[in-house]
Symmetry: C2
């Protein structure tokens, strides 16, 4: 049933934020069962989340988060899937794969089930090439290579920190696009993985995402969203902007493309609009901010980059809305909490 | 036979450099016959090139080039397919599609013949989006759009100047890769068109390429290659570097991906190595030069950008090899010749 010799079995955690029973895992069983799951329960902690038998997991609800982080739990969002980043923090593994609980196994054009996790691992274990564009896409995929004119000095590539997977069926649209195109489905299977070029920002979606926690984990903070916050559905976007700028600075690569998952249902566009509308105009200033953001040479660790970034967020985005001052502070709290859990061995996460 | 209502029938020329009879056109007849062809005959001008009946064309051999350009013909390469750029210069159309004579109609995964030209036209007529990455690729393709987190202010896009198509079967590899992977074939049909982000260079291949001549034509110079030159097979690469930097400067977009053509046979890797070997180490300095090249704000036309670029080529690349001084001069000559043929109406090209 479980894949024989799954890659990186002992080096990867699957992080799932949820508010419901995890029936969706049944379909993923052949692919996920060899791995350990970190389930981050959002919302009412007294509710019981059922996990199908046979899976190895730790489940953390809000009480656990508060207990483990103490006052620093304030940096973890509540009533928003942004809470998933708590799972990145308590993991002790080198790699993280995170997936939404409304995402199922997709099929490739030949009708075969797609082992999303294997493709992510492949993406992460092969180099990235952000300094020059390869027109045949991933030069490390089977039957492909660097094309004529690709500088040889750049063919070694650089380490890959992030693998961003895509979605068949329901595309990851914002509320306005959902409203305008209620029937649009993504049926296009694009058989490609590519490195996002240096200096280019992208909209990182948290639905189907893997990363090297040792390389970039401390920057994978999903911000302050949901309960008590003026904004939602920008958690993964925020992380993506921060992560891309830091990866560019540190010489790490980000890939996007394969693998696809099957996204089963669209969230409510009216609810989404309410969550998003501030983000929709704020991002018009946030993106130029990140495009222009430069980090000092002395910032050679993810943590140092992130703390510097938090400072600039407060200084420059604080003018848009006081929310960004709070967010900048939360970014610092996040790093403190990360380091407390990860640098010292004093606090062990209390998984169940 | 000919497609009914072919798009841009009167606005597009197909430019084909060749040294042989154009039997390959038979396969393209349903797609190309509605259009006018500009055939640039390379090598011995006394040789007769046979063109299948029913095509409308002008054919220019070296004698014609010399007659039309006079002493400025020195900027047009001889015994190298770089001579194709003469065709861009003498065309009076808004759009150019150029294709090699060893490229045939490819099939899409459903087995249907791919109308490469229609896809190029589609690419050129839809906006480009170089300022932010869209993870679902071309937002203007059917069933796709901008994903969540894509700034709304950037969704209008910018005009597309270049459409770079790809190749099934024989990939466009350099000589070393051809030697190392003699049996590699490209069988991966990637169903995507994408804009190459601003600030990112790419290896532009001239095999299957379309562009808006009014927007970027004067920068589509394929350099000095072949007879009497120390280098070959860098003609399209050179044009690609120049064009990308100028497009970035002027706010024009470049797309790559669909359409595929079927590239029938690999050129001789030993001959290619001889042509390429200087380029292989020169490009290690040329690419950083183009990556760092900045054009003054006052350069608001392609011609002005190109003349400024020629100056910098001579100044900065001249140190690598005297060839680049000659090339910088040829770039200026090219622009002079372009303007002579295109700005004034005094010299009409002598097509047959």
């Amino acid at each position: 049933m479980a894949t024989s010799n799954p890659p990186l079995k002992d080096d990867l955690d699957i992080v799932i934020p949820t508010i419901r029973n995890l029936d969706f895992l049944e379909m993923w069983r052949p692919f996920f069962q060899p791995y350990h799951l970190i389930i981050v329960q959002d919302g009412d902690p007294s509710k019981t989340i059922k996990v199908p038998s046979g899976f190895s997991y730790d489940l953390y609800n809000r009480n656990d988060i508060n207990k483990i982080l103490g006052p620093k739990a304030s940096c973890i969002s509540f009533k928003d899937s942004a809470c998933r980043c708590f799972g990145y923090m308590v993991s002790k593994k080198k790699y993280i794969f995170t997936i939404d609980d409304d995402c199922f196994v997709a099929k490739d054009p030949s009708g075969k089930d797609i082992d999303a996790l294997s493709q992510h691992i492949r993406n992460l274990l092969h180099p990235a090439t952000p300094y020059f564009f390869n027109t045949l896409y991933d030069p490390f995929s089977d039957g492909a290579d660097f094309v004529r004119g690709y500088p040889f000095s750049l063919r070694e590539g650089i380490p890959t920190a992030v693998s961003h997977g895509l979605w068949l069926n329901i595309p990851d649209y914002d509320a306005p696009t959902q409203l305008v195109k209620p029937r649009e489905r993504n049926t296009r299977y694009v058989d490609a993985v590519m490195t996002i070029p240096k200096g280019t920002l992208f909209p990182m979606c948290g639905m189907n995402l893997a990363f090297d926690r040792n390389m970039i984990g401390p920057a994978m903070y999903f911000g302050l969203m949901g309960d008590g916050q003026p904004i939602g559905r920008y958690d993964d976007m925020w992380a993506g902007w921060c992560v891309k700028v830091i990866c560019d600075h540190l010489g790490l690569g980000i890939k996007t493309g394969l693998p696809y998952i099957w996204h089963s249902k669209a969230s409510n566009p009216f609810v989404n609009l309410k969550k998003e509308y501030k983000g929709i105009f704020w991002q018009e200033e946030i993106i130029p901010f990140f495009q222009a953001l430069s980090l000092p040479k002395e910032s050679t660790t993810v943590q140092a980059c992130y703390i510097e970034m938090a400072k600039q967020v407060k200084d420059k985005l604080g003018k848009i809305d006081p929310y960004f001052v709070k967010l900048g502070d939360a970014m610092v709290t996040w790093i403190e909490a990360w380091d407390e859990l990860n640098l010292k061995d004093s606090k062990k996460p209390n998984g169940k």
